[in-house]
Symmetry: D2
Subunit: 359 residues, 4 copies
Amino acid sequence: MSSTFGRVFRITTWGESHGGGVGVVLDGCPPGLEISEEDIQIELDRRKPGQSKITTQRKEEDQIEIHSGLFEGQTLGTPISMMVWNQDARSKDYEEIRTKYRPSHADYTYQQKYGIRNWKGGGRASARETIGRVAAGAVARKLLKRDCDIDIIAYVRQVHTLVANVDPVRVTRNQVESNIARVPDFEIAEQIIRRIDAARKDGDSLGGVVEAVAHRVPPGWGEPIFDKLEADFAKSMLSLPACKGFESGSGFGGIAMTGSAHNDPFYNDGSGIHTRTNYSGGIQGGISNGEPVVIRAAFKPTATILAEQETVDIHGNSTTLKGRGRHDPCVLPRAVPIVEAMMALVLADHYLRQRGQRG
Amino acid sequence: MSSTFGRVFRITTWGESHGGGVGVVLDGCPPGLEISEEDIQIELDRRKPGQSKITTQRKEEDQIEIHSGLFEGQTLGTPISMMVWNQDARSKDYEEIRTKYRPSHADYTYQQKYGIRNWKGGGRASARETIGRVAAGAVARKLLKRDCDIDIIAYVRQVHTLVANVDPVRVTRNQVESNIARVPDFEIAEQIIRRIDAARKDGDSLGGVVEAVAHRVPPGWGEPIFDKLEADFAKSMLSLPACKGFESGSGFGGIAMTGSAHNDPFYNDGSGIHTRTNYSGGIQGGISNGEPVVIRAAFKPTATILAEQETVDIHGNSTTLKGRGRHDPCVLPRAVPIVEAMMALVLADHYLRQRGQRG
Amino acid sequence: MSSTFGRVFRITTWGESHGGGVGVVLDGCPPGLEISEEDIQIELDRRKPGQSKITTQRKEEDQIEIHSGLFEGQTLGTPISMMVWNQDARSKDYEEIRTKYRPSHADYTYQQKYGIRNWKGGGRASARETIGRVAAGAVARKLLKRDCDIDIIAYVRQVHTLVANVDPVRVTRNQVESNIARVPDFEIAEQIIRRIDAARKDGDSLGGVVEAVAHRVPPGWGEPIFDKLEADFAKSMLSLPACKGFESGSGFGGIAMTGSAHNDPFYNDGSGIHTRTNYSGGIQGGISNGEPVVIRAAFKPTATILAEQETVDIHGNSTTLKGRGRHDPCVLPRAVPIVEAMMALVLADHYLRQRGQRG
Amino acid sequence: MSSTFGRVFRITTWGESHGGGVGVVLDGCPPGLEISEEDIQIELDRRKPGQSKITTQRKEEDQIEIHSGLFEGQTLGTPISMMVWNQDARSKDYEEIRTKYRPSHADYTYQQKYGIRNWKGGGRASARETIGRVAAGAVARKLLKRDCDIDIIAYVRQVHTLVANVDPVRVTRNQVESNIARVPDFEIAEQIIRRIDAARKDGDSLGGVVEAVAHRVPPGWGEPIFDKLEADFAKSMLSLPACKGFESGSGFGGIAMTGSAHNDPFYNDGSGIHTRTNYSGGIQGGISNGEPVVIRAAFKPTATILAEQETVDIHGNSTTLKGRGRHDPCVLPRAVPIVEAMMALVLADHYLRQRGQRG
């Protein structure tokens, strides 16, 4: 029951990285929303492998198929089933991990949990699982844009020790897409690309931070107590492969401040109530306050590296394992559309929930 | 529907800070678990106000009442309803906020969301809401201890810029409880107490980090994709008042490492499979791997301060507001039992879920 | 997790028949609804024991207490916690069933399921559990009445072999309440009262059918596939103690018809689209069509009788058991407000769900 | 969110009758269960159209495809995605209903609910939706058989006024499958086949009752209060197209009895505790008691008939509509495997839930 996310705008993803395919069923999307396969494909293309020299060279066309829920280009209000077939499955790359657990991967824990695993790839733990999320997220974004003019923009804020200088309020998607690292700070972007490329050549990997902002989220979204906007964002991010941390607004950095500096004063400039600062990240008491919603997710260095590593085999004996094949030296650039999708899914869910409560 | 948490071991909390009382219904606790009011009370006493000079002076006895679900000292397998009455409600302290929104509190967002709010206190946004969680968490801990010998220990790791030096693997509850700051590093503890006390005198407030560790969580708990252990921990933490960030294992700090340094090598010392390092924080692919589970939650500086602040009133007019009355200059010490409770609730839920899947 | 009902307008009930009390937490009620304790009490008084000579003589005042979720007479949009204390618990009446299973009661199955049971009464299987449902149902009714002018009327349609002649479209609550049997057919009502009274004197019991109708349910409520209006009504009814059957519209009786007779022709009389007959019971494809919604629930003869019966004890040995104490010779009259409450809860849930989907 | 059923063993169905296809995602099936496409196909073949002269002549091969969740013939514990492509879609048969509502179909209510509908067929209201249920039900049956030796047998008990004489305890699947009506009473079966065939020739339709029994359900399954076994069975049945009624055990018929006759006396014959009669239908207090579980579902006469009928068009104007094309004169024979599937899904869910609670 754990492959389902959302209460009203609800997705269920399915599929292993090697096997038939991966997909999603989106239930709860309101009727009458115009959706085309192009709307979905454009987002999938942003996350697909082989986009650039700093992503994995695995080739997958990741062509979306929509099997239900649409009629004459509009949503019916019924479940939307979408999928992508697996194509470039080189299972022989995985032969060695049939019997050995890759460190900091999910091989060992899946085996312990299920007593069985699809060792021909990462199974459900593969980032391929996120295809379904991105597809459903594209629908969520259309709904949010049409009804509330909401824009969601994510970008790479940090890779390894390199931190970009970005103003979340002014950054544009064009800036983000202007370089293969998706870092909207051109100077740091170049450094990041070089550092990722160096890690790739070393067979090593790097982590980083994706920051995301949602503009024009109306006040009043998010449901205390357990479905606070931040709580749902946090869950959505930590459900992503390799994600190890989440922040909203000032996050961990806010700890160095005192309350008198950290509080966001309200003012009214005639256009409505705003806050002078936005340490709250647009969320107070778990509910949006109308300011830009700002969150961040930390991704660890990719576990797949090409060095020889100490590990154990499936019988528990000590051994070593040397990575091979294709890998993402840094997941951050491809994580950008995924983070946007999850943010959109959370917001679409709370949009419909609030509409139900207040009419 | 958002006051419910957990799928199998499931709580629903209720109650405002001023009004009849606050409570919880715990559904899904297995039958035959010995529970007494003392088991609950001991945890409530750790979170109650007025414990020390560095917590709010609001006086509440917070005496637990159990109204259902027990028979002759054992759980029946039916819902356990527990509550605490509100006593020391000085609503006059709140008269001014009837018409003015406190900065970085939930007054404004509740009003926007619901069109109505109980201005006599923080309503559902008050930390009093966590009483129900702590009560239910005490039951979860007994279950986890009895069936799996799991121990959960949380402590204050950081307040403002003061970071304690703690080894999560060796820290004991006695160490944590040895000082009013709940910092198991005696030197830093004293500095922290002084700094909180100074903030209190200034009418200002401080934030910090609670770290929590769970020992002896068996491998295999946590359900991909959306109910990864980390995802549920993240949601549980970000659902807490004032929480703005979450990490598991290396978290944000792991970003400065490369994959070759960050991966946790497996080895077998004869007693079983372990990892040489624990940057994963005991969780890989969202599933426990048998190592200590380590998480951290960041809490912002308390929004209640005694300085005069810029704000708007309920008509949208600019005004100022000066805090008064009692407040917690730093929520961290009292957050410790709350974080432990949430960790226990997540683990109990996944314990029962895994038992259902694997028998 | 099974004491929770509803997705958006959601209740969680708690409490055993003997012990502290019984109650409910209602989460998801929209803010701004006027609610008083009198609104709740009036419905509880209709279900409470000791109302007349044909109900159990157990005396319970069943005085409602509301502990949260209201402010100045209005709902806050937060959980509404309501409870009733248990008072007239004559546990000595139950001493014998400590060691013997009452036939067709839940003693044996609870013991098998949980390995423990509160033998001092029926525990959760007692009809006292429905107090929470009736309390929450009263809130649901106010919401449905205020926003949609919906009226819900239930009544006893049949007891044993006596079937009342009632037109569901014209029946009024006054007619229902005009006699202690809640049978809005005065001739049959008298016969039913006599027959119940005779059963009571014999120490025997009778079953029957409650029929319920909801007026002015707008078209479009109910969600295919699994949350069809009929499916949720069916679940709600079969969750009631002693309920063994459910029908909507023509139900089992419709089987004797052919499709050409059973189909409900549409017509438009200028005021809107209606159907000439209503064998559909106001529901087509699981969705309301604007006609009166008509359902029926069958209740078995009460399992508590005063005759000596064959049974086994908790060690599995054959024995006999003679009922004693107070019992309801026929639950039907008291089931009326309970059926109404469940119908209201289902409709309120679907009202909010539809509002969320269509704005 | 309403296309999902079950809490732990959980299905989500998708697909319209005309469009890409129909399918299901089954999440929560334990790992290590052997499943092949043949296991699924055998059940789909029992429900597919065109089986005999008394079912619709629509031709669909309904060939199952499994896209995820299996590895080397075993379940992985991850979501199992299964689908069937739509093939024989004669949309021209539906051209007239583009603008006219078929009486007692879901055309009108879908249009009212969603403001849009796929008029090329019944959309989600089509019985094709049940393909996903039958596929997932086949998995549930394998699980129940392997772990608990449970057998589930359904059959047609009644068509129109013809009632078969069947002993639910002794009936076999071979008897059920021995005739195209799936009536395990050979004399009545012949009459039923003749009557259905006559209705077909008249362009009319008939309803009936399916009865189902589950053998060897252990005591203790089912969760009070709202997830009583009967409540979940009722919901599952009323979620089926054309279902208008549900009974368990004595059902509506039990009303004619008194409690002293209706109670099921317990006895112990040395092999364990049993009941002398089984009016409870194997369920007491919503929990299985170890006796055969017996339920019944009433299906109305199919709404599709070939006569001319009064109706309105999508503009609300009075008109008439004459059915054409292929139709099922009686859904009962094909409903048998669907009822079995739903019964299996409910039982599998409660099996895993009980295993989680009691280990």
